[in-house]
């Protein structure tokens, strides 16, 4: 079976449209990053802290039962943990969402047959402190630097920058989507972003590899022709890989349940933008850069 064969799409010709789209997405993403940095985005308990309640029921309960009861009462973003022995449940939730009283009301209404007492209700700080945030940012910055250096060594400096810009683009795009839809920013989103950063890099490097191969093969062809041919040649691979990864991500989204719903959603978005960016962001940047550096030589000749 084969999906595509000998396509000849002028990807480079589409760069103006793609740059406009990517530019807008990136700006929204940067706004999202600023909002996260200032804590004004919809930050999860991991980052902003919240309320922790210890509830003791008279009869056994399941986390799913409590989750349903709370959700009927309009409280959706909660973290539930069973305490072994004694039918106790630890409820952690966002400070701004609802108060401890709301939790009690929701449980009273929707778990009517099961009386309970609130053992304790306190405010908790974030589990991800300032230091952890800083460490992670440093790690990400260093890994980007490492990638630029590796790709600069294996390919060319321009390719390294192209790959990193495309990866950053994908990270910003994911944040932009979460920011616009006002979804919760938590540790799972961070993980999804890191996962996609890795995926995006792989995707970009594969396209770059073919470009390099073709650049060695045909030195005389104009840059855009070589880039277009390379992307077309790797297109079927790009699509198949995206389809398979997309299948995994979509099944997590559809069947994974509400707790990992946002996480899977981030992966789905990420796979899409990562595929897009290796074709429409990474390659045009390198092509334009290569082209501008080859012009003076052409003039001289």
């Amino acid at each position: 079976m084969e999906l595509l064969r000998n396509t000849n799409i002028d990807f480079m010709g589409l760069r103006k449209i793609s740059f406009i789209i990517s530019g807008i997405v990136a700006i929204v993403g940067i706004l999202g990053v600023i909002a996260i940095g200032r804590g004004t985005a919809n930050m999860g308990i991991d980052f902003s802290g919240g309320i922790a309640m210890q509830v003791k029921f008279n009869q056994p309960v399941t986390t799913q039962g409590v989750r349903d009861a709370l959700s009927k009462g309009g409280i959706h973003e909660v973290e539930l943990q069973e305490i072994t022995g004694g039918n106790q449940i630890l409820v952690k939730m966002h400070k701004s969402e609802k108060s401890a009283q709301n939790v009690e009301d929701a449980l009273k209404q929707n778990l009517a047959g099961n009386a309970f007492t609130v053992e304790s209700s306190t405010e908790i700080g974030p589990s991800i402190g300032e230091k952890l945030k800083k460490d992670t940012l440093i790690a990400v910055a260093l890994s980007m630097l490492g990638i630029i250096l590796y790709i600069a060594w294996r390919f060319d400096f321009k390719f390294g920058v192209g790959a990193v810009v495309a990866t950053m683009h994908d990270v910003l795009a994911m944040i932009a989507v979460f920011y616009v839809l006002h979804k919760e920013v938590n540790i799972l989103l961070i993980t999804a972003v890191l996962t996609i950063a890795g995926y995006s890099l792989t995707d970009t490097v594969v396209v770059f590899d073919r470009i390099r191969e073709n650049m060695h093969k045909s030195l005389k062809d104009p840059m855009f022709v070589i880039f277009n041919r390379s992307i077309n040649e790797t297109l079927s691979r790009t699509i198949i890989t995206s389809v398979t990864t997309f299948l995994s991500a979509v099944s997590l989204y559809l069947f994974g349940g509400e707790v990992i719903n946002d996480f899977a959603f981030a992966l789905v978005i990420g796979v899409l933008v990562a595929t897009y960016s290796s074709i429409f962001v990474a390659s045009p940047i390198v092509a334009l850069w290569e082209k501008s550096s080859e012009t003076p030589e052409a003039k001289a000749a």
């Binding site: 079976m1 986390t63 908790i124 079927s236 997590l252 349940g257």
Partner: protein
Amino acid sequence: MKGYTWRISLILVFIIASFVYLTPTLVDTLPSWWSGLLPKDKIHLGLDLQGGTHLVMGVETEKAVEGSLDLIATDLEDSLTQQNLRYKSIARVGNDKVQLTLYDRSSADTAQALIKKKYPDMQTLPATDEGGFIGMQVRINEKEAQVRKDRAVAQALETIRNRIDQFGVSEPVIQREGLTNIVVQLPGIKDPKRAIDLIGKTARLEFKLVDETINAATATASGLPADDELLYEKKTDATTGAVSETPIVVKRKAIITGDLLTDAQIRIDSQYNQPYVAIDFNSTGARLFDQVTAANVGKRFAIVLDNNVYSAPVIRERISGGSAQISGSFTEKEAADLAIVLRAGSLPAPVKILQNVTVGPSLGKDSIHKGLMAGLIGVLLVVGFMAIYYKICGMVANFGMVLNILFLMGALSALGATLTLPGIAAIVLLVGMSVDSNVLIFERIREELRLGKTPHAALDSGYDKAFLTIMDSHVTALITAAVLFQFGTGPVKGFAVSLSLGIIINLFTSLVSTKVIFDAYLERAHVKRLSI
């Protein structure tokens, strides 16, 4: 191509090893013949997947305020002595005041000016005449005390995080609760008591001179001079386990404290095969240590941790260079834990365990079940897609993917790494990468076949041409994973472990494992058309 026997053997060895390491996880009760050499640990699951120990600890913030008042008292003693001001006594009274007793009014005025300058936030109460002496009190105000309490909790949180990180429990949850409490959740650890001991130890390290003029055996705490105190050296007999306590009288004032340390490492004494902790001082500590040892050769120096004397060796010679060692009758584990708490620093105030319960996974069992099902469906969809799209070759790729997952699980289990939801995300990515490597190879093979090459030649050049691409894409991903592993903490680290292991394993399976199947097949059967 000849010589694929060793490749097949290598793959078989890996498969067997993975199963051996996974057996404890897969089988509920290990058979009796499962000997001591074979692994017994189940795969470690993070808090989000399995739950763990939930500790609520109260920081005794009052003690932090008292501690800082003690420091102020010591500092005032030093400053007054430097200015040649005579005083009768300076000590903390209650939990918010420092009491100074001076001989005359003029030195009281000077002292008052000094305090105003050095501690502008402190409140000085008017001096009073107390039977020939001038009494003076300095009080810490409510607001300032609250700031210190707050800082103590924040600092305790950081110290506890450091200790847990160094202890090696990955994926802990550490957060502040209310004004004075800290919640720590540790994913299913084997020895919670040891972890609790480690977290709860204040670890205030002090070096104090032994007062040899007083007979410790007959001394009582009340009969000692004001600047001495009575401590005990606890020794556990290695064979009987009996604890003996030897009293030691030491100078109250610590000469060197733990905050002057830069490092602490466990070492083994080659002569007696005894573990000890080697410590390094910073420049101030080194200078002090040098001075003190030079001035006190022949005397004893007590190493005191949380008011227990670890050892009180005789200073044989001047020790310069800024390193020392703490020896005592401890086991290797105790020495290792001591090194950890010394490195991570002391707690600004003692902590009490208020609650210690076992909690279920933070994602909830229901969600984990759903998540696993969804993951399985995803893998099956990918398997189906590959089988349809690449036919038999697709099945070979699927086999490679299954091997990948098996090897990764085996490796995680063998290394004692922790599997968390972020780790599972890394596996999803790995499934993607595993398929990707094969897609790259297969697309190349198709290109070669279109050029009219024989299946055998197309296969070989397909692998050759895809090789560099696969290397490049894997190395870039590995760079990210390695840096995240080195600098990331908590869940990010768990993600990095799964990802970096996965990348290395995938490189092996995609370039060796699947290739050997094709090689073996093409060797035996004369293939005219490749099912791709």
